[in-house]
């Protein structure tokens, strides 16, 4: 056995150029597969990481996926708001542990502004139940304070106490420039959509929209001054959605039904986990296509491997005959070829492990910084290990063909 391993290694080494290219092509394909898999899992994780906070999401009646997207991911726009009265009414239910309102609509530069209450910062949790933490500062103290996500701070280079102006609507030129806000807190990176949010209090949103009617500014005397607001003026009239946490998950369906049957206003409640799973099933089609393509790339690299083994067989007939003459059996010749394939694929796996770790180390921060794709840097998982075993196994299986050819040749090849 030892002699075989030595022979295989030295023989491969003597053909280092071709062997190296084969290893490279196999390595690249494995790295491709692993990267796509990491991206996929990362996407899934950050996707599902957003739904850890509540049991139900309350919103106006529209598509449930739509409600999920704008309430949790701040993607798309709500068609309708829900009235503050209905919100108040529903929050009276005794089964509810807590309920946090959110209000969308405005923006700051490319980031969306979300109105909410102080509870949001305590209740919001993501991934494995992690809570929001502050890099700097704290949540809002005054009406015109904002808390910004880490991406907002990074991209726009904001510091505490910087002054920012909110624009009306999304991608709008009309600014609420008479109400400058002050950055009161900067959140730590979460890898969720919160990183891209500008958070303000519901009262502040109400205040800046006092003199707005149906999307345009109607100057009314006197109100455009902060000091003119009284507390009761700032009670919101409507909100976009609310996140509900129940005391006991048993009551989820009961509360959901009650909200859906609410008679004074068309409301709906969705269970985020269920809707998200539905959504993910749609998205995962592309995911599967990508995985299939990268699996094909591996297959083609393995075909390249057997092509290499096959093409050298003829040149190596004398070599094999010589081994036979000194006592090697045809079975030994067969094993030698399998061993070479095994070494090549093992080296490729080794290289791809090193390469993926390097990529993790150098590329993940860039992905995060430039594209906001946050991937957890996890070293080899059990599934990767299974994957490597499958690659090795397949490599050996496909190499049986050239090895069998060598076996057949060596039965007759002597002098």
């Amino acid at each position: 056995m030892k002699i075989l391993i030595n022979l295989a290694f030295q023989s491969l080494f003597s053909r280092k150029a071709t062997v190296f290219l084969t290893v490279i092509s196999l390595t690249v394909s494995i790295v491709l597969f692993l990267s796509i898999d990491t991206l996929r899992l990362g996407a899934k994780k950050s996707f599902f990481g957003n739904v850890k906070s509540g049991d139900l999401i309350l919103g106006s009646r529209s598509g449930e996926i739509q409600l999920l997207l704008y309430s949790l991911f701040q993607i798309g726009n709500p068609t309708n708001n829900i009235s503050w009265e209905s919100y108040k009414e529903i929050s009276k239910k005794t089964e509810i542990a807590w309920i946090v309102p959110i209000s969308l609509g405005d923006s700051h530069k490319q980031f969306r502004v979300m109105g909410t209450t102080k509870e949001y910062f305590q209740k919001y949790s993501y991934r494995k139940g992690q809570k929001l933490q502050y890099q700097f500062g704290t949540h809002f103290q005054n009406t015109f304070d904002v808390v910004i996500g880490s991406d907002v701070a990074k991209m726009l280079n904001y510091q505490l106490d910087d002054s920012i102006i909110i624009a009306h609507g999304i991608a709008s030129q009309s600014l609420h420039d008479e109400f400058p806000f002050k950055v009161k807190g900067i959140l730590q990176k979460t890898g969720t959509s919160v990183d891209k949010l500008v958070l303000v209090s519901l009262e502040a949103l109400e205040a800046i929209h006092k003199d707005w009617k149906a999307g345009s500014k109607i100057p009314i005397k006197g109100v455009n001054n902060k000091k003119n607001f009284k507390e009761q003026d700032l009670i919101p009239k409507e909100i976009t959605a609310a996140i509900i946490k129940l005391k006991s998950p048993i009551t989820i369906f009961k509360i959901q039904r009650e909200i859906n049957d609410y008679e004074y206003e068309p409301l709906q409640a969705i269970i985020p986990g269920i809707v998200l799973t539905k959504l993910w099933q749609i998205v995962s089609v592309t995911e599967n296509i990508m995985l299939t393509i990268s699996a094909m790339v591996i297959v083609s690299a393995l075909i390249g491997l057997i092509a290499i083994l096959y093409s050298t067989l003829n040149n190596r007939r004398r070599e094999m005959a010589l081994l036979r003459i000194v006592g090697a059996s045809p079975r030994t010749i067969f094993s030698l070829l399998l061993l070479e394939a095994l070494i090549i694929s093992f080296l490729s796996i080794l290289f791809s492990i090193i390469l993926t770790q390097l990529l993790n180390f150098f590329l993940f921060p860039i992905l995060d910084y430039k594209y906001g794709i946050y991937l957890e840097n996890s070293f080899l998982l059990l599934k990767d290990f299974y994957f490597f075993v499958i690659v090795l196994f397949t490599a050996v299986i496909v190499s049986i063909f050239p090895a069998l050819q060598a076996y057949k040749n060596s039965i007759n090849d002597g002098m």
Binding site: Q10, L322, G327, G414
Partner: protein, 226 residues
């Protein structure tokens, strides 16, 4: 038994229909004799050597080497028997270029039961034989064998053929790639080693002038049956 090799009623056929077939009623080579075999190209000389070394198996008949009916052995035993008892020298490609000359020499040992305690003995034997054949230690210890000259390669092939103290050496036109001076050199060395180590030698050649180095000669056409 005073015969090193006994072939009786041998019949061999290449697989293909109306392919070449070889039929030999009787062939014996006495112990410690050196025999040269002539024959036309395509007459089956290499095929016969492959049968003797056990690479090929006859359809019928017996091949007896060292009192063992080798064609009855299982294929694994045949391979082991060859590694232990038969040294082989080819016309060319006697050397694996990608391993060191010393490892080339040791190849038959690697494929037999090469015990730890014998290791030293075989390496010493290899270096001693090499010195006799004018191959210096540092030549044997080169990383790989691609730099060796044709003559050096053939000398290493001799050492490899005898390293395991074989009973019989078969050589298939080992001198045809060598120039005159190297040819004479090579034969002197081979014949000398076979004499001192008491090894029976069967060598195939086209060169009838080499008769003088051998005890007797065979012409294949004369012993095959049509």
């Amino acid at each position: 038994m005073n015969n090193a090799l006994d072939i009786k009623n041998l019949l061999f056929k290449w697989n293909k229909k109306d392919g070449f077939s070889l039929k030999i009623k009787n062939l014996s080579i006495k112990r410690n004799k050196k025999v040269i075999m002539f024959g036309q190209s395509g007459s089956g000389k290499s095929t016969l050597l492959n049968l003797i070394s056990g690479i090929l198996s006859p359809v019928s008949g017996t091949i007896i080497i060292k009192d063992t009916i080798t064609n009855n052995l299982s294929s694994n035993k045949k391979d082991l028997f060859r590694a232990n008892n038969i040294g082989v020298i080819f016309q060319q490609f006697n050397i694996l270029d990608y391993i060191s000359p010393i490892n080339n020499i040791m190849l038959p040992c690697f494929f037999t039961n090469f015990k730890k305690k014998n290791k030293k003995f075989f390496y010493n034997r290899a270096f001693n034989l090499a010195t006799k054949l004018d191959l210096k230690r540092n030549i044997l210890l080169q990383k790989n064998s691609s730099q060796l000259s044709v003559g050096q390669k053939q000398r290493i092939a001799i050492i490899r053929a005898v390293i395991n103290k074989p009973f019989l050496i078969v050589a298939d036109e080992p001198t045809s790639a060598l120039d005159n001076k190297n040819k004479v050199n090579f034969l002197d060395l081979l014949v000398n080693i076979c004499d001192t180590e008491k090894i029976t030698l069967l060598m195939v050649s086209h060169d009838t002038s080499l008769k003088k180095y051998f005890d007797s000669y065979i012409t294949l056409e004369k012993i095959v049956q049509k």
